[in-house]
Symmetry: C2
Subunit: 250 residues, 2 copies
């Protein structure tokens, strides 16, 4: 049975795309059949996989035009529905439609049996697109940067998730929280980590993603970091996260 997981946090630049791409790739390499859907108009996940935005098969047409195709990436077992610039108009377009929260969910149901997992890379907002994703998903994986502002956003995100769970999608739950860009020499980062452990310890993955420049270099080569440089500290952390993810799924 396929599980659908949103990678979301309305705080910007916390490592959503980096987590979505590297976790998807790590699971694909371990033999799971994975679909990555990029619903962020920026299209960073699309670029990170070496693909082009605004092609014939894209997530705007997937949601809005009933076109349920996907494409193969150059990584075995990893498929993708790339981004489109049209996504930035989708929020306004959806908000006047009937059943506006269910567009993505209706489409995903047509293809989900082809995969073990579907990961959805979200934009940094709680817009109508993100609501569509929360309604379509089984769970949400939340990257949290080891910074003060990130703490503020978690409570608001959990409130929104509970509201969706109560009204639109009863099965929705938190898959887990992963700390990103951790610099162990930095007191603030350590404070933020212990703060999250204290308040959200039940959800927190043991794998902590370190700040590692190789993770931010990889997208310019159109490859996930675990392919670009499997031995760097960032890749090792994402491989360990993938193992922990599969263990907690049992």
């Amino acid at each position: 049975k396929c599980k659908i997981i949103a990678i979301s946090n309305q705080k910007g630049g916390v490592g959503k795309t980096t987590t979505c791409v590297n976790l998807s790739a790590a699971l694909a390499i371990s033999g799971k059949k994975i679909l990555l859907i990029d619903v962020d108009a920026q299209g960073n996940a699309t670029t990170a996989l070496g693909l082009e935005k605004n092609e014939q098969i894209n997530s705007y047409d997937f949601i809005n035009r009933d076109c349920s195709d996907y494409i193969q990436t150059n990584i075995n077992n990893l498929f993708c529905i790339p981004s489109s610039n049209n996504l930035s108009a989708l929020d306004v377009e959806l908000s006047s439609k009937d059943q506006r929260e269910y567009f993505l969910s209706n489409q995903i149901n047509k293809i989900k049996n082809d995969f073990d997992y579907i990961f959805i890379d979200c934009p940094p907002s709680l817009s109508m697109i993100t609501i569509n994703v929360f309604v379509a998903s089984d769970s949400i994986l939340i990257p949290v940067q080891c910074e003060f502002y990130s703490l503020e956003g978690i409570a608001q995100l959990l409130e929104t998730i509970n509201a969706i769970k109560g009204n639109l999608n009863k099965k929705l739950h938190i898959e887990g929280i992963v700390m990103t860009m951790f610099d162990k020499r930095n007191i603030l980062a350590n404070n933020v980590l212990s703060n999250v452990k204290e308040h959200f310890g039940d959800y927190l993955y043991e794998s902590v993603i370190p700040r590692n420049v190789r993770l931010s270099e990889a997208p310019s080569f159109g490859k996930p970091a675990i392919i670009y440089d499997v031995h760097c500290s960032g890749s090792k952390a994402y491989l360990s996260l993938a193992k922990e993810f599969l263990r907690s799924r049992k």
Copy 2:
């Protein structure tokens, strides 16, 4: 005559709030009368100034309820209209209204003569709120993080700005581009900087904001970095940016 400047970039976590707060504070200390409007539902700028969200005077009521008050911060010459959680519903609410792009601009016109500059901290999206900001503003100051993904977003942002300039706000122009979180030891950061210089050199400020942990510590004390630690490299860079900003205004 008051100038209204949006701090915007749809890419998340690039330093919009950090730039908006520190530039506003630096100009206020130099004697200019400044209003900072926080239209991001996350309310990071509100927190950075030691203020609370969802108070009686907030930016949701300012835009949507015709309430044109503002509050004094504990910094001389610096005033604020704090954020509100209600902002996350505003996009959908505005999209069905008549003249939906002009709500903020109509309100700002009532108070703008009280100030030398108004800075607006934007959320990481090109939503209806951001469109309202672009219609209300004279110019846009764009923080760009020294990362590969940031390059991708600039072209899309400039396209949106030109579309607004052509249809809704003829006076809109680029105030400038400021590079943020620059680490001179990092080859990727140097590549991104020279890339932006080559393609957008006319807009690029000479002041480059270095990666400096003191900038990310300051918000937890409710103070701009230039107050929390005026001697750190981050504060010095923002003070130099403020001088450059005033020079280019002449």
